[in-house]
Symmetry: C2
Subunit: 314 residues, 2 copies
Amino acid sequence: MHVFGVDIGGTTVKIGRFTEDGNIKNKWEIPTRKENDGELILQDIADSIHREMGINDIGASEVIGIGIGVPGPVLENGVVNGCVNLGWKQKDVTTEMQELMHGIPAYVGNDANVAALGEYWKGGGKGFNNVIMVTLGTGVGAGIILQGKILAGTNGAGGEIGHFHVNDEETELCGCGKAGCLEQYASATGVVRMANKVLNTTDKSVLKDLSNLSCKDVFDAAKEGDPAAASVVEQLGKTLGTALAHVSATVDPEVFVIGGGVSKAGQIVIDVVQKYYKKYAFHATENAEFKLAVLSNDAGMYGAVKMAIDGNAK
Amino acid sequence: MHVFGVDIGGTTVKIGRFTEDGNIKNKWEIPTRKENDGELILQDIADSIHREMGINDIGASEVIGIGIGVPGPVLENGVVNGCVNLGWKQKDVTTEMQELMHGIPAYVGNDANVAALGEYWKGGGKGFNNVIMVTLGTGVGAGIILQGKILAGTNGAGGEIGHFHVNDEETELCGCGKAGCLEQYASATGVVRMANKVLNTTDKSVLKDLSNLSCKDVFDAAKEGDPAAASVVEQLGKTLGTALAHVSATVDPEVFVIGGGVSKAGQIVIDVVQKYYKKYAFHATENAEFKLAVLSNDAGMYGAVKMAIDGNAK
């Protein structure tokens, strides 16, 4: 039997064909055509999957289902509640895809939640039941898996931890329109922002010589002992470690899996976050584990496949 | 059919006999005998329920089950993981109670979680699926109900929001051993503590004339416009409102139900907490509702009954 995992991004759609026990047989990408409010996206995906089925002589009865991760909130009935990056307003992606695929079942989830399900199933959270996947990229987001199921939330805002208010003194605005959000400190963008602020107050930093400062530059300098860079890494660790302590005192997970661009700096990220986490966590939750994500950009496809398998088993 | 709801406290055990649709037929209390590591507590409860069954000519086959709330963490298999107030170490309360009741099914949960289930079923959270019950008493705790089910957490620490770290500057220790916990500001004890601090810095407050200041005194004075008292209420609102914004950006509930002694001050508590909540919440969660709890000390019994009914339906 076959399962398709689809991860719709703003630029490309990642598609994978998997066996039902999660082995990947083929993966490829197609462009995300956003013109006309993204009306072509689902048809393009269906065409691409039909082509893969034709090439490999796979009949519809041999496909368990299609899981789809989308970059926007998804209501509990599988309807996407608007997706700015794709041009979608409210859209019943589940029903539309099933019709395009002539009845093959489709299952739809938010991309951060679906990626968390992927890391839970086959990645850094493998072997655990209660997993928080934290993605530190352009922004900060989390996907929450409890007892193996996605916690989506009433408004699809479960795991939106990037917008924890963590600093009353902040004067710059977050993308959400408020000020002092976690992602202003713990995202890749936030790290560069903080570094530029620190560099305005010191002459002593190897970062001074760099143009177009990147998050990687800051972590590289911190690893070399640069004090300005190290102070930025500490600030990331403190804001994120405290926030994750709050997450633990709310949902009490077994493990945090840290992914996204910032996590490519490696163990230094885990170490500084866990240092502050242990300092501020409620004692019963102090020993939650911290792991690096392992599936990278494929997490969404894996999670989409798992979602389809679970949905089919209901 | 009958269901028994049991709420074990440090001083008394509340017991209620209910119909399966949640109508209370009788309620009573027995003392909590804590001697010898609390070894008599379960036997006392079983004797008391047997007596009620005998008086009312109720056979074992007419009892759906017994739900029990205990003041300590409960593992997912129904084992109580230590209960300091009762003298219990790890104890299989589920199995022991079933044996004492000759096979009538027993279901065990943490008391804060069980009370949340009660408010969800028959109280301030009635009609909602995703409910956070926040209890502002000697400490601060929460019970989280998602899709009608208790979120217990890996270590039974789900909803332990009283130990959110909210203040780096705090020098006094919380009961948990760390400093700057939410419950140092948002509990009844915390309100009195903050008031005493403020009173050391001002001569102008009606609270100055009171000995043995209580949380009620502070709220009464705030309602009369006393500036010192009002500043304490604002501080409670800000710490709790921010914390609940974090809870929303994690589990995204429909409603917060506020109970416990502090909530007896009424709408003023809702108003000040909601003011800061809206200021700091992620926009998708800004419109979560706030309601006062309605079941008071009976919430635990109601929730225990609901837990037994749900357990029986599985």
